[in-house]
């Protein structure tokens, strides 16, 4: 307890100093750029917030309430999925694919659909928050449930006990640190999901306020609400972390380093698996709409989407519209994605070459990773304008921090004995980086690159929705207001498919690279 307190106060000194420094810098910058409609000074922001304390408190409560509900449901679903996967191993492949699909759903298109399905209220925000945290927790938990050394499970088996005992006595406990790490990532994700839900037509909440200030060119307001959202996310991240440290003794594991799923046997088996999955998803989609008895006007079935895009009267027009928008979105998402990855890897490498800086930068990066960059997207729009640059910057920022943290953590996995050998020959840091730390980083890098695919699409489409007025995001904003549900559903299906394909393609590259560079990582 005392140790923890000391560690906290030790960390608090520099943190306080750097926060103060940042605030001063911010104030100075704001004063220098006054009149450019970009940066509000901290004092102006504080002033704005103080005048509307009541409104802001209510909006924050609404958003956090929706985020908390989504956090609960999403994580419960994740736990259930992971539990079933472990108890019925044959179900794992399908359950993981479904969970990934939910993660790949484009929130800007699902948001308006959920809005009409739920009617008024917080239903969409809660659902989007749940969708935003289910997959990451699911993956973390799966890794954790499998993290138990085989010897522990053999012990259980040697007394003739089965999977349930193994789960209760060994796997559940061994998975706790992983669950904690997953929940910590999920907390800010839930806030982000709730805010995107609010972007797409809620009545109250921080997301609604930030849209209003952004459209009204209210710079101080945009900064105030962006700041509140960021602070809430950091606080949620820290609170879940503190709670986790009380429950588990083990240090947080690096859960990003997950080997990609093993491909099916031959190309034919893989094709059959993919076809089976697509059929299953279509069947589930159709059955859900039928079971709920939802009218086909806004609750489109797979057949409706097919007609809308392929056989219907204006199908050609619809296709051109959708694919054109997709092209525009990819023109933002792809460069942003690559830039974010490159920056993350580059800065991680630079930090490893300068270990003193890394000691300071790592906690900062972890804290910044917890900010839902997207919730602060309006700030980037203010700063970089409504053109492609702003969109690309948002995508890159969204991907940069998780990649940086994953790469730094990955490089830390380099066995000390290996780095010691390099040091014992007095090898330069660069040599050590290239031959020891970079290969150790690869699995974490790839895992994070895969997770970044849906994130990049989410960031690009949200930026388009909020600001740039082009691409799928803008198209969704338009068709949501004109109740063109055929387009909303088509876009959802198309974007989710593109994201899944990109994810699978990356997994293949990953396996090929790891097979050469780090074969021990492939189980």
């Amino acid at each position: 307890m005392r140790g923890a307190l000391e560690a906290m106060t030790r960390g608090a000194g520099p943190a306080l100093a750097s926060t103060l420094g940042l605030l001063l810098l911010w104030q100075a910058l704001a004063m220098a750029t006054a009149g450019a409609w970009i940066l509000a000074s901290p004092l102006a922001v504080l002033d704005w917030a103080a005048e509307r304390a009541g409104l802001l408190t209510r909006a924050t409560a609404v958003t956090l309430g929706a985020a908390a509900q989504g956090f609960l449901w999403g994580n419960l679903a994740a736990m259930l999925l992971a539990l079933v996967s472990v108890l019925v191993p044959r179900s794992e492949r399908v359950l993981s694919a479904l969970s990934l699909l939910a993660f790949c759903l484009p929130l800007v298109a699902t948001g308006p659909i959920l809005r009409v399905l739920y009617g008024p209220g917080t239903g969409p925000q809660v659902t989007l928050a749940a969708l935003a945290c289910c997959y990451t927790t699911h993956v973390a938990l799966l890794v954790g449930l499998r993290a138990a050394p085989p010897g522990w499970l053999d012990l259980i088996r040697s007394y003739g006990r089965g999977r349930v005992t193994a789960l209760l006595q060994v796997r559940a406990m061994a998975a706790l640190p992983y669950l904690a790490a997953g929940l910590q990532i999920a907390a800010p994700a839930a806030i982000l999901g709730a805010m995107v839900g609010e972007f797409t037509g809620a009545e109250r909440g921080l997301g609604v306020l930030i849209l209003r200030t952004l459209r009204g060119l209210d710079v101080a307001g945009t900064w105030a609400i962006g700041g509140i959202a960021a602070a809430a996310a950091i606080a949620a991240h820290a609170a879940v972390g503190a709670l986790a440290r009380r429950v588990t003794r083990a240090p947080p594991p690096v859960i990003l380093a997950v080997a990609p799923p093993r491909p099916g046997r031959g190309p034919l088996a893989r094709l059959a698996g993919a076809a089976g999955l697509i059929l299953l998803v279509l069947a589930l989609w159709w059955a859900a709409m039928e079971a709920a008895g939802l009218p086909a006007f806004f609750a489109k079935r797979p057949g409706d989407v097919w007609a809308y895009l392929a056989t219907g009267p204006a199908a050609g027009l619809h296709r051109a519209q959708l694919l054109g928008a997709l092209g525009q979105t990819l023109a933002i998402a792809l460069p942003g994605y690559l830039a974010g990855l490159a920056l993350g890897v580059g800065i991680a490498a630079a930090l490893v070459l300068a270990p003193r800086v890394a000691g300071v930068a790592m906690p900062l990066a972890i804290a910044l990773r917890s900010i839902p960059i997207l919730a602060t997207a309006p700030l980037i729009v203010l700063a970089l304008g409504r053109g492609a640059a702003g969109g690309i910057a948002i995508v890159a920022a969204m991907i940069f921090f998780p990649t940086l943290v994953a790469c730094l953590q990955g490089m830390r996995q380099t066995p000390a004995a290996v780095t010691d050998i390099f040091d014992s020959y007095g090898a330069p840091r660069l040599t050590r980086l290239i031959h020891a730390q970079a290969p150790a980083m690869l699995p974490a890098f790839f895992a994070s690159a895969r997770m970044a695919v849906p994130a990049a699409i989410l960031a690009a489409t949200t930026a388009e929705w909020l600001a740039t007025g082009r691409g799928l995001g803008a198209l969704m904003a338009t068709v949501a207001s004109t109740s063109d549900y055929g387009m909303l559903w088509s876009a959802t299906a198309l974007i989710a498919s593109v994201a899944m394909l990109a994810w699978a393609g990356l997994a293949r590259i990953e396996r090929a690279v790891l097979a050469r560079a780090a074969p021990e990582q492939l189980s």
Binding site: P149, G151, L155, R157, S158, Y159, M173
Partner: protein, 258 residues
């Protein structure tokens, strides 16, 4: 079955992992109540043999019968205990908690007094509440032995149980622990790297060849039981050590560790 120790019979027992043939068909019988030491070069398949007997590995051919029953039937009765090369202690349980877990898994009534007695016997008095991470490698291995013995199994399978124990403690354990299972007449299979340990503990020593393992020597150990430290000074003991070492194809009392 717990009252009378079982005879263990391996009939045409073979095991392969993919292309790798680890055990060529083996016919072995381990007499009830005897301690048999298995020695052989690293990687020849000793651990695999033990895991087959424990029912943790499926033979590619042949079968294991323990007192006429299958390994899984014996598992379910909690009559079998295996200590692995690496101590498989659950890190979130105390030493005492780990030992008690065996009682629970074997569906035996909880018996705190017996748990503490065994912790004392393996020389870990006062460490009952310690977590595995707080124990040295040798202490963890001793804890595993306490866990194996607490259920009073009819068949005891020990895979290099004293590998990480320092030489002095090892000799003490070699002299003390066998009394526990020999008094009950437990059938014991012991894999060891140490020829002197094999001679000191076993009633019979099987020397295996390189993979796929075959028995190259089957040496009865006719030293009187129970054995004391003095026995290591005796001529018959030294002769046996020399015989086993010869069969292994090298001098010295101990094989290189893997």
């Amino acid at each position: 079955m717990a009252d009378t120790p079982p005879e263990v019979v391996c009939r045409d027992l073979a095991c392969r992992f993919g292309e790798l043939e680890v055990l060529a068909p083996l016919d072995l019988t381990f007499a009830a109540g005897q301690t048999t030491a298995l020695v052989g070069p690293s990687g020849c398949g000793k651990s695999t043999l033990l895991r087959l007997v424990a029912g943790l590995e499926t033979p590619s051919a042949g079968a294991v019968r323990i007192g006429g029953q299958s390994p899984s039937a014996v598992q379910r009765q909690g009559d079998l205990a295996i200590a692995f090369q690496e101590a498989a202690l659950l890190p979130w349980r105390s030493l005492r908690g780990n030992v008690r877990l065996a009682l629970r898994l074997a569906r035996r009534p909880d018996d705190p007094a017996a748990v503490d007695r065994l912790i004392d016997l393996v020389g870990l008095t006062g460490f009952g509440e310690a977590r595995p991470a707080e124990l040295s490698g040798g202490m963890r291995q001793r804890a595993t032995i306490a866990r194996c013995l607490v259920t009073e199994p009819a068949l005891l399978l020990l895979d290099e149980p004293f590998g990480a124990v320092d030489e002095l403690t090892r000799l003490r354990l070699n002299l003390d622990l066998p009394r526990l299972w020999q008094a009950r007449g437990t059938t014991t299979l012991l894999v060891t790297h140490s020829v002197s340990e094999a001679v000191l503990l076993a009633d019979r020593i099987l020397v295996f060849s390189d993979r796929p393992a075959r028995v190259v020597a089957d040496i009865p150990v006719d030293l009187p039981q129970p054995r004391a430290a003095a026995v290591t000074e005796s001529l018959p003991y030294r002769r046996l050590v020399a015989r086993v070492s010869d069969a292994l194809g090298g001098g010295g009392g101990r094989l290189a560790a893997e």
